[in-house]
């Protein structure tokens, strides 16, 4: 895997349970909006959880390149996309390349 290795912050929305990604000033359902985090990730997670914006926030490894952000582990790639067996329910329902992005 090529590209710059970065760390990004993820969790689930308290109300909906949706997978969310820290954008630097809020949360987005789309990993493309995620912003790299540094040593302040734990502080951000605690603060956002206390404000009930997110549940169970944690930091993951990802690669950043011209294609965008791609989590290092398949579990996080599936979280970012949605169930690979129901792409109609995923965040990329009309993208035939979505499955390849997981692999």
């Amino acid at each position: 895997m090529s590209g710059e290795r970065v760390k990004i912050l993820t969790g689930n929305d308290l109300l909906t349970g949706d997978v969310t990604w820290w954008t630097g000033n809020g949360w987005s359902r789309h990993i493309a909006d995620a912003a790299p985090v540094g040593d302040d990730a734990t502080q951000i997670a605690q603060s956002e959880e206390a404000d009930r914006k997110v549940v169970g926030a944690y930091v993951i490894d990802a690669q950043s390149d011209a294609e965008g952000l791609r989590p290092a582990h398949i579990k996080e790639r599936i979280r970012a996309l949605g169930p690979t067996v129901r792409l109609d329910l995923s965040l990329r329902p009309n993208d035939p390349a979505a499955s390849a992005w997981i692999a």
Binding site: N12, T16, G17, R52, G56, I74, K75, I78, R79, P83
Partner: protein, 546 residues
């Protein structure tokens, strides 16, 4: 209808729980409960946070539903989820896309039809499972459902067993044909009759799957049914006292029974049992009789035709595979396979769920069962109605004639949904069912139970598959191990890993090679499992890895 009906106590308990959880959700949303405080409360109500969203697991006691309840499950799928539900290997249903703020309303809807999600998570006694043909099967010795219902009432909100070392699962059957994987449960109970014709319970303790699979040994050969509660109280009490709480991987009762031995465990249980009998914990005999009254046979039309018109070949194929003998003349048991080729095992759309509810109402005395193999049973159908039922199932994509064949795959949600999973299960099931989609090919192979788990927790029962598949994480890549020789029936056995793992496509090829060895080497009347047991692993290993 021949099933238990809530009395005012049952309904009041469920309604009170809805009110309690509604308040807890409101406090969580208002910030007066932290996630750390709220998490055990939501789990006690079956609400998990999974890979993509909240998941709600709804209890279906011993897998039994009436049409109104089933209809509600379909409506919930539409109203609060994304139009489908997933029937599980514990005879329950799960919804994958639940919003926290909707859960009080969902639980209220469930309570309106006598259902709930209580004790579908946590280290407590979970939903009791049972033979899905109970009260209908021609081979039944005695109906296990009254005992299952008594267990439900005993175990629900049992304060002493609310914080066990680990979760606890009970299964009960009433015939020699084990259709509930009974010996692979923490406690398995078989209703039996002795030489004098008296009904009793044969009790097995210490079975399970997971990372340390074990087959439960017999702990009591014959227990008077009216002592069931006291005896199980003793079984649980010994476990609660000595089960390990320092290591979650060694906390199940199977580890305790294995480490101290069945004889010592039995001795301790008997000692405790003798003490508990003095306490008078058993329900009065009249209560068991009251419960039995709910499960009296419906008014079977025994004058109905006992023959089936098999002139439609597709229908005949379905009858041969998915219809079983009923105890009443002129009747049959229908199993609706939720395993279309290339489909997701156990998933059903809201429309399909409601159709099944309607079929139960119109043709099966208002009753359905969920099987641990993730299928649906219409337990009491007139043979004269089979063709009409089949036509309606066929129109809805539910006439898959593959019960117990290689296409009837058990698969856990795997890494597509489950936060514990290491690998995806469903895509493997889809590829295998597509590879073997030809009905003639499936029929030629015959009975072959294939089970897939996406992690060592074994929700897909891979240890008990004639062919089992275990998904593992190998350095961040999905890898699949092949197991052969497992069984969950009366001949319960645990599968063994054949060799190194495979990629997703590789495991499909390996399954095909294993079936080819069987076809080449089988003797008359042998199932895949029989041939494997006769030949051993060597020829299969050679074909797969050679």
């Amino acid at each position: 209808m021949p099933m238990y009906q809530y009395d005012t106590h049952d309904q009041a308990m469920v309604d009170a729980r809805v009110a309690e959880f509604s308040d807890q959700v409101a406090r969580r949303l208002a910030g007066t409960l932290s996630e750390e405080q709220f998490r055990p409360l939501r789990l006690k109500n079956g609400l998990y946070l999974q890979l993509h969203a909240y998941m709600l697991r709804v209890a279906i006691p011993y897998g039994t539903l009436n049409s109104r309840q089933m209809h509600m499950l379909g409506d919930i799928a539409d109203k609060y989820d994304r139009g489908y539900g997933h029937f599980t290997t514990r005879q329950n249903i799960q919804y994958n896309w639940i919003k926290l703020e909707d859960t009080p309303a969902i639980l209220a809807d469930l309570a309106s039809v006598g259902m709930h999600a209580i004790q579908t998570s946590g280290n407590c006694i979970r939903n009791t499972t049972a033979d899905h043909f109970a009260g209908a099967a021609a081979d039944e010795v005695a109906d296990p459902r009254p005992y299952a219902e008594l267990l439900r009432q005993w175990s629900t909100f049992h304060p002493e067993f609310d914080y066990l070392p680990r979760k606890f699962k009970v299964a009960i059957i009433g015939s020699d044909t084990d259709r509930a994987a009974m010996r692979l449960h923490d406690i398995g109970i078989q209703v039996v009759k002795n030489d004098a014709g008296e009904t009793g319970l044969k009790v097995y303790v210490g079975g399970g799957m997971g990372r340390t699979p074990m087959i439960a040994p017999v702990i009591r050969e014959f227990l008077p049914p009216l002592q069931m509660i006291s005896y199980l109280e003793a079984c649980l009490r010994v476990y609660n006292r000595y089960g390990r709480r320092d290591n979650k991987y060694k906390a199940r009762i199977k580890i305790l029974v294995h480490e101290i031995g069945a004889d010592e465990y039995r001795r301790q249980v008997e000692e405790e049992f003798a003490h508990i009998l003095t306490l008078g914990l058993e329900p009065p005999p009249a209560e068991l009789e009251r419960i039995k009254g709910f499960f009296a046979d419906p008014a079977f039309d025994t004058q109905s035709a006992d023959t089936i018109d098999r002139s439609d070949p597709d229908f005949a194929l379905w009858v041969d595979q998915n219809v079983h003998a009923h105890k009443a003349p002129g009747h049959a048991i229908v199993t609706v396979s939720l395993k279309p080729a290339g489909g997701i095992p156990g998933d059903a759309s809201a429309d399909q769920i409601r159709l099944l509810a309607d079929l139960a109402r119109d043709y099966s005395f208002d009753e359905l069962r969920v099987t641990h193999a993730q299928n649906i049973v219409l337990p009491h159908v007139r043979k004269a109605d089979l063709y009409a039922i089949w036509q309606k199932l066929d129109a809805a994509g539910l006439a898959n004639a593959n019960l117990d064949l290689i296409g009837d795959i058990i698969a856990c949600p795997g890494l597509d949904y489950c936060s514990l999973a290491n690998a995806r299960s469903i895509p493997v099931a889809q590829k295998i069912s597509e590879r073997f989609a030809d009905p003639a090919r499936q029929a030629e192979i015959g009975e072959l139970k294939l089970k897939i788990s996406g992690c060592i927790n074994a929700c897909g029962h891979h240890h008990a598959g004639h062919i089992g598949i275990l998904g593992v994480d190998r350095k961040g890549t999905e890898n699949y191990q092949l197991l052969l020789g497992g069984s969950e029936g009366a001949d319960t056995s645990l599968g063994t890993i054949v060799g190194p793992g495979f990629s997703e496509d590789g495991i499909v090829d390996a399954v095909e090679k294993a079936t080819q060895v069987y076809l080449d080497r089988r003797e008359d009347g042998e199932r895949f499992l029989d041939t494997y047991r006769r030949l051993g692993v060597a020829p299969f290993k050679e074909a797969i890895y050679g």
